[in-house]
Amino acid sequence: MSTMTLTVPKSEAAPRRRRMRQGYGRPLLEVVMVLVTVAYLFPLYIMLTMSFKAPVEIAESSVALPKGLFLDNYATAWSQANLGRALLNSALITSVSITLVVIIGAMAGYAIARGSRRTSTPKLMLFMLGLMIPGQLGMVPLYNLMRDVGLLQSYWSLIIFYAGSMMPMTVFLYTGFLRAQSSTYEEAARIDGAGWWRSFWHVVFPLLRPVTGTVIIVNAINIWNDFLTPLLYVSGSVNRTLPVAVFSFQGEFASEWGLIFAGMVIAAMPVLIVYFFLQRHIIHGFAGGLKG
């Protein structure tokens, strides 16, 4: 009896699945995929079209195609919010923070992964606390700390914040990746006379490329898009980042949507350009970064 109940549905289910794939199911799936794609592309369409519309045109319809290319939004956004400087600020803060995160995180991950199990587990747990404790709890004390050491309104306030806040996830990724790797290469290097330092930089670090790619991508996107921390630390100064600069077009009672969307397009451009040139590595990083 039990054999019957197990085999009959199985034998019926397989052809049904085949029919789904080959028959009416396939067009249905494709329609769903097209709808999902449209849903994903729609905000992008709104962002682009609104950025080329004058306020009067936006008032008429926010969904219709622009009647012409109203480039004033880009010119005004660029000059009024000083987006050139904001772009440079964002690029600088992101790249320096990422560099520190990768160097320190990889070394910490290596020390934890290759240390004795008795000491490395508590150390890893300590880093994991950073993932479990909500960042908002530290907002006021951190602000006071930055103020007391005189770093407010400077690049370093953000670089130190990001390097610290991104460290738990980075150490977690590196440690997990390294624990899944054999230590044969390092041992060979050490037999050949390399010290810990040399074997890490010349043997281990190059092996960490996949996870380093993941670390760079995930953290860089988070830092580039972060709004609250730069708002608190560098808002109003010449060192403000892109999201804060774009936010300046949000008014108290009304917003200038054309300027906001033009600013957003300008802010998104560097990320898209980097993605365009490095997409092979980025996809490889995502696909292989966590497997070890």
């Binding site: 306020p55 008032a59 990768v102 006021v140 370093w156 490329r209 936010f247 009672f253 009304a254 490889h284």
Partner: protein
């Protein structure tokens, strides 16, 4: 990761670090001694919502005195967040923007209460502060803020739409209903309401309560604070909400006010789908940009609440600058306020902002907005925005949430008035 990316990463790291050090060096404060050409010198920091108007005044003050300014301009909400942290941390700018009364933690009277701002009572310009502003900036006899420019809550309308429907601006409640009927018949939304943004619920409420409460019951707030009356006992407040509900229920407003945010409500007037929007004058430059024909196609009137045009009051509140009590350069800060209080400068600041000069001695500004308001200023038929006189932001929060619930049908007006009384009792001083 390829060799290409690895070497790129190394180069990127090197370049980033060098550039960071170089740029950090560039942005470090100058060691050079400040110039001094007059009575004041040194540096001043200022934080406000926009450089419009004040930017030129800062520049002229810098030229006249040699004082160097460090400026921060940010949207009001973000600025308040930042200022709250800075005030608590003792790093507030020398001069900064503050809201009137007690409405928010960074409002003038709250800051005066905790000693975060300086008493400006001795300054010459205090003689030109309108009496109506006293409740918003005077704390225990001291004047703690400089009023930069005023904003009024008014009805802005699309002139083409009015002409198409053959109507003129109403001056009484019955005329408003008559005009609305004609606008409806012409296929237009008479009053555009964007209640999806809860702060928008305050505009029509304060526009009506200025007449029905402040105008008709001038002692109401004094008695409320003394515990002699309540919102629930106020005929003016009850009528305010009844009128709002009746406008919605009778189809004189946007069909789904709770599904319409503030910006689309303004856009509807701009594109001619709707006729009237009630909003603070500070938003009028945005409305003009959205409207075909700009300012030439926009009209203004005081929103009537009764059948006597002479009884109409308008809500009119100033924006403030305050001086931090921790400023290290008080002489320069006070000199700057004196500079911007000069009649021409006060007028230029307000005009650039699309606002109304706050000081009584300011040079009159000749534009549509100022003309519409002047008669009410002359006849002292203005009153602060209701929330600015309440002792805490909780009352306005109760109003915004409660009125949305009333419109939704989840609460009645008695419930809303009770909510206001509860919130007021919680913050009463």
């Amino acid at each position: 990761m390829s060799q290409f990316m690895s070497s790129r990463l190394t180069r990127l790291a090197g370049v980033s670090l060098v550039a960071a050090l170089a740029l950090t060096g560039c942005s470090a404060p100058s060691e050079e001694a400040p110039k001094s050409t007059g009575e004041v010198s040194g540096e001043l920091s200022i934080a406000t919502t926009s450089d419009i108007g004040i930017g030129a005044l800062i520049e002229s003050f810098e030229k006249e005195t040699g004082v160097d300014f460090e400026t921060t301009f940010a949207e009001a909400g973000a600025l308040n967040e930042q200022l709250s942290l800075q005030i608590n941390g003792g790093t507030a700018p020398d001069i900064f923007r503050s809201a009137p009364g007690w409405a928010a933690p960074s409002s003038v009277l709250n800051l005066a209460d905790i000693g975060a701002v300086r008493d400006l009572s001795g300054e010459d310009w205090t003689a030109n502060v309108p009496k109506a502003f006293e409740s918003l900036q005077v704390y225990e006899g001291g004047t703690y803020a400089y009023p930069t420019f005023g904003q009024a809550i008014l009805a802005f309308y699309n002139i083409s739409v009015f002409e198409e429907a053959g109507v003129t601006p109403p001056t009484t409640w019955d005329e408003l209903i008559e005009v609305s009927d004609k606008l409806k018949a012409a296929g237009k939304v008479p009053i555009s309401l964007g209640f999806a943004d809860n702060y928008v619920t305050q505009f029509i409420t304060y526009a009506l309560s200025a007449t029905l409460v402040n105008g008709a019951e001038p002692d109401f707030y004094e008695e409320l604070n003394a515990g002699k009356t309540t919102f629930a006992e106020s005929d003016g407040w009850r009528e305010t909400f009844e009128k709002i509900v009746s406008l919605i229920e009778d189809g004189y407003t946007t069909a789904d006010p709770l599904g319409t945010p503030g910006d689309p409500a303004m856009q509807a007037v701009g594109n001619g789908d709707a006729a009237i929007v009630i909003m603070p004058s500070g938003a009028s430059p945005n409305l003009a940009k959205m409207t075909k024909g700009g300012w030439d196609n926009l009209g203004i009137f005081a929103f009537p609440a009764t059948n006597s045009a002479d009884d109409t009051f308008i809500p009119f509140s100033p924006d403030f600058l305050v001086v931090s009590s921790k400023t290290e350069n008080p002489d320069a800060a006070l000199a700057f306020l004196d500079h911007i209080s000069q009649p021409d400068n006060a007028a230029a600041f307000a005009e650039a902002q699309g606002a109304i000069p706050a000081l009584t001695n300011a040079t009159p500004v000749d534009n549509q907005l100022n003309t519409a308001i002047q008669v009410y200023l002359d006849e002292e038929r203005t009153t602060p925005f209701a929330n600015h006189t309440w002792p805490g932001g909780e009352v306005a929060a109760a109003l915004m949430a409660g009125l949305q619930q009333v419109v939704q049908g989840d609460k009645d007006i008695d419930g809303l008035l009770a909510d206001l009384d509860t919130a007021y009792a919680g913050v009463k001083r």
